[in-house]
Amino acid sequence: MTAENNNKITDELIAQIPELFKQFNKEHFAAQTTCDDIVTLWVSSKRIIAILSFMKSITDPFDMLYDLYAVDERLRLDKNQYPILDFTVVYQLLSINRNKHIRFKVALDETPLEIATITHLFKNANWYEREAWDLFGITFIDHPLLTRILLPPTFKGHPLRKEFPGRATENDPFTLDEQKLQKEQQALKFIPEQWGMKKSNDDNDYMFLNLGPNHPSVHGVFRIALQLDGERVIDAVPDIGFHHRGAEKIAERQTWHGFIPYTDRIDYLGGVMNNFPYILAIEKLAGIEVSERVKCIRVMLSECFRILSHMLFFGTFAQDIGQLSPIFYLFIDREKLFAIIEAITGARMHPSWFRIGGLAQDLPQGWDKMMLEFTDYFPNKLDEYEVMVMQNSIIKIRSIGIGQYTKQQAIDWGVTGPGLRATGCDYDLRKVSPYSGYENYDFTVPLDDQGDAYARCKLRVEEMRQSIRIIKQCIKHMPQGPYKAEHPCTTPPMNNLSKNDIETQIQHFLNTSWGAVMPNGESSFAVEATKGINSYSIISDGTSSSYRTRIRTPSFPHLQMIPEISKGLMLADLIVIIASIDFVMADVDR
C-alpha cells in the first residue's frame, strides 16, 4: 500500500456516509485504512468543530462521543503515510441507530499544542479533554475547567508523552517529607468557588461534604465533593484518579503478550472479559483466525465473569441500601463459580488466560460436569435472591425513580451497557455486532424503559440468567479443535511444531524472548463487557510492543453523569445511584 492510495477518499468510503461528503468537500479529508473497518478521517483542527456538530445533527446522528484520546506521534516510524504532525487528537463517534462508529483525527503541532474544546457539543467531552490535557498536555481552548483529572494536581509533566519515563527506576527514589505531605494535602482541598458553587444561599450556609476517597460505599477509591443543603444534594463534583496506574503507559513498554495480565486488572471484576477486546484487536491487526473451539471457550469464560461481576453488583446494591445478608449468599455462590474458573484456568479473579491467537491451555477433563452442576444450581438460587431483594418493598421505595435518566441523556453522556439498556435502548454488542461467535447463541437482551436504579438492578439480574443460558449452550455444543491458532504471531506458539523444524523454532524463540512482532497498523475492538462497552484501540509501528494502546472503559463516562442525576436528591439516594451504576475504580482510572 502506498501513501497516496491510503489517503484517498474512495467512492466506497463516500457511500458509507454520503451526508458528510455532501456537506463538506472531500478535499478537506484524508482517509486512513485501519484494520477495524471504522471509517477514519483526518481533518484539520479548524474544521473539526463544524464536522462534529454536523455529524450530530444528521438523521440517525452520530450523537454519542464514544471516545476521545490523544496520541504522541513524535516517535512514529511510518510518519509518511498519514498527515501526521507531532500529536493527534482522536474523536470517535458512535451512532446507536446505525450501529456504526466513525473516527476523526486531528493532527496538531507541538507549538502551539492546542485545539478548540467540544464540551458544548458533547457533555462527556469534559473529562476526556481533561484527561488528554493531563496525560499529553494538549490545551483545549475554552474548556470550562481544564485541570488534572487522573493525576494529582501537584504532578509535574504529562506522562503519556514519549519523553516521559515509563519506569519508576528511571526517576529518583520517591520520598515524602513533612513539607511535601502538607503540600499534597492542601492540593486535595476542595474549593467550591473553583467549580462555580456558592457557599451559601439567602437563608443558610451549605455544607460541603467530602464523600470518599475512603467511604464504605464508594466501591474503591472514589471521591465526590458534595454541596449539601441539610441532606439534600445541591451539586456534586466527582473526583477520580486515585486508582490510576498508568495502564496505557505500561502498554507501551510491555510486549504485546506481556500486557495481557495488566488488562485483567483494568476492570478487576471482569477477569478474562478484559483480555477479550485486547486480544481481539490484536488478532484483527495480525489477521489471526482462531478455531471455533477457542471462540466458544472464550465466550463461556467471559459469560462466567459477567455473572461473577453481576453477582457482586447485586449483593453490594442490596448492601448499600442496608440489606446485610444477600451479599454473603452471593459471595458463597461466587466462590462456587470461582472454583470452576480456578479448575479451568488455575487462577480465580485474574486468570489472564486468553492468548494472542488462542488460549493458555485447553479445557481440563471434567470441566463440563462442574459447569453443568453450577448452571443447574444457580438459577434457582437467583430466583430466591430476586424475591429477597427485588421484591422487597423497602428496596423498591428506595430505588424506583431514583437516578432516573432518559435514553437521550444516556447517549449524551456516553453511557453504555446495562445503564443504557435500562432506558429502553436495545444496544448490546453481542447482538448488534456479534463477535467470537455470539451470533450462534440463543439468548435475549433484557431491556427496561424506566431508566432508574431499580431498572438497572433488575436488568442485571436478568442478564445473569441469559448468561447461564449461553453457558449451557457452550457446554452442550463445545466444538472440537485446537486451542491455539497456527499463526506465526500466536504467543506463545504451539510448541509441538517447533520441535520439528528450525523455522518454527526460531519463531518460537523470538516470540517468547523478544515478543511477537505485530504488523504495522491500527486496530480496535469493542466488546460488551460486564459494565458496558469496553474497547481497546491499538497502534502498532511494527515492533514487539504497541506504540499506543487506548483503553476505552465503560465506567469512566458513567461516573461523569453522577452530578446530573443526583441533583436535588438526598444523600442516601446518591448512595443508591452509586450502587446502581456498577463501576470499578480501576476501570475508571486505568
Binding site: S217, A318, Q319, S325, F328, N392, I394, R398, M570, A572
Partner: protein, 314 residues
C-alpha cells in the same frame, strides 16, 4: 439477699449480658448468612467478648483535637447510664427488681428521652460532618418516634389501670396484653427499634451512607460504651416488651426468672433477625412513616382501647 446486693448483681449481670449479646448477634447473624462468625476464642467463641474487651480497653483513648473535649467524653457515659437506669424498674421475677415505684412507666419514657442527648451531643461535639449528619438524623428520628411510643404504651396503662410495671405484670395473670393490644405491641416494637436505632432504623449510624454517623470519631472504650449501650438497649426494649405485653415473668412449670429470660431472649433474637433481613428506608421516608402512619394508628389504638374500657365499666 440483702437489698444493696441485688442491684449490684443485676448491674454486673447486665453488663456481661450486654457484652455477651454482641457475641450472640455475631454468631446468629453468621448462622443466617451462611457464615461461621467468631468461633475461635474459647468454646463456641464465647470468650471472644473477653478478647474484644481486652483490646478495646488497651487501645489509645484518643480525643480528636477538633472536638469539644468535655461533651465528647460525657456523651458515651450518658447512653450507658440512661439505659442501665431503665433496667431499675424492670421486674425480672417476683422479688428481683431494683426499684418499685408507682410511675415507673413515665420514668422510663423520661429516661429514654434523655438518652437522645447522648447521641446528639456526641454528634455535635465531634465537630465532624458525618457525625453532625448522624446527630441531625437522630434528633429527628427519636423525637418523632418517642411521641407514639408513649401513646402506644398508654393502651397498656389503660388496661392495667396503673403505671407501675409490677402491677402491669400482675394484671396479665390471666391473659397477656398482647391479646388485647396487638396493634399497640406492633407500634411499641417499631418505636423501640427506632429508639435504640437498630436496623432497619439505624439511620443515625448508617455505615453505607454516613460512615458511622454520630460515633465516627469515637474509638477505644468510648466507642465501646456506645456499642454496649446499643446492646443494652436491645435487652431493655426486649424486656419491656416481655413485661408489658407478654406477661413478664409469668408462665407455667418453669421458674419465673427463666420465663423472663426465655421471653426476652426470643425478642433479642428477633431484633437480630430484623437486622439480617430488612434494608434501610430513607430518612424522609422514615419521618413520613412515623407522622403519617404510625402516629394516627397509635391515636386510634388509644381511642379504641379507652372506649372499650369505658363501655365495659359501663
Amino acid at each position: 439477699m440483702t437489698s444493696w446486693l441485688t442491684p449490684l448483681i443485676i448491674l454486673i449481670v447486665l453488663l456481661l449480658l450486654g457484652a455477651w449479646s454482641i457475641w450472640l448477634e455475631r454468631r446468629v447473624l453468621a448462622l443466617w448468612q451462611d457464615r461461621l462468625g467468631p468461633n475461635r476464642v474459647g468454646p463456641f467463641g464465647l470468650l471472644q467478648v473477653v478478647a474484644d474487651m481486652i483490646k478495646i480497653f488497651t487501645k489509645e483513648d484518643w480525643v480528636p483535637p477538633f472536638a469539644d473535649k468535655v461533651l465528647f467524653i460525657i456523651s458515651p457515659m450518658i447512653v450507658m447510664i440512661m439505659t442501665l437506669l431503665g433496667f431499675a424498674i424492670i421486674p425480672f421475677a417476683p422479688n428481683i427488681q431494683i426499684a418499685q415505684f408507682d410511675h415507673a412507666l413515665l420514668f422510663l419514657l423520661a429516661i429514654s428521652s434523655l438518652s437522645v442527648y447522648s447521641i446528639m451531643l456526641a454528634g455535635f461535639s465531634s465537630n465532624s460532618k458525618y457525625a453532625l449528619l448522624g446527630a441531625m438524623r437522630t434528633a429527628a428520628q427519636m423525637i418523632s418516634y418517642e411521641v407514639f411510643m408513649g401513646l402506644a404504651l398508654m393502651g397498656v396503662v389503660i388496661l392495667a389501670d396503673d403505671f407501675s410495671l409490677s402491677a402491669i405484670v400482675a394484671a396479665q395473670a390471666d391473659v397477656w396484653f398482647i391479646c388485647y393490644q396487638p396493634l399497640g405491641f406492633v407500634l411499641f416494637f417499631i418505636a423501640g427499634i427506632a429508639e435504640i436505632h437498630r436496623a432497619p432504623f439505624d439511620l443515625p449510624e448508617a455505615e453505607t451512607e454516613i460512615v458511622a454517623g454520630f460515633h465516627t470519631e469515637y474509638s477505644s472504650m468510648k466507642f465501646g460504651m456506645f456499642f454496649i449501650g446499643e446492646y443494652l438497649g436491645v435487652i431493655l426494649i426486649s424486656s419491656l416488651i416481655t413485661t408489658l405485653y407478654f406477661g413478664g415473668w409469668q408462665g407455667p412449670f418453669l421458674p419465673p426468672l427463666l420465663w423472663f429470660i426465655l421471653k426476652t431472649g426470643f425478642f433479642i433474637l428477633f431484633f437480630i433477625l430484623l437486622r439480617a433481613a430488612i434494608p434501610r428506608p430513607r430518612y424522609d421516608q422514615l419521618m413520613v412513616f412515623a407522622w403519617y402512619i404510625l402516629l394516627p394508628l397509635s391515636l386510634l389504638n388509644l381511642l379504641v382501647t379507652g372506649a372499650v374500657k369505658l363501655s365495659l365499666l359501663g
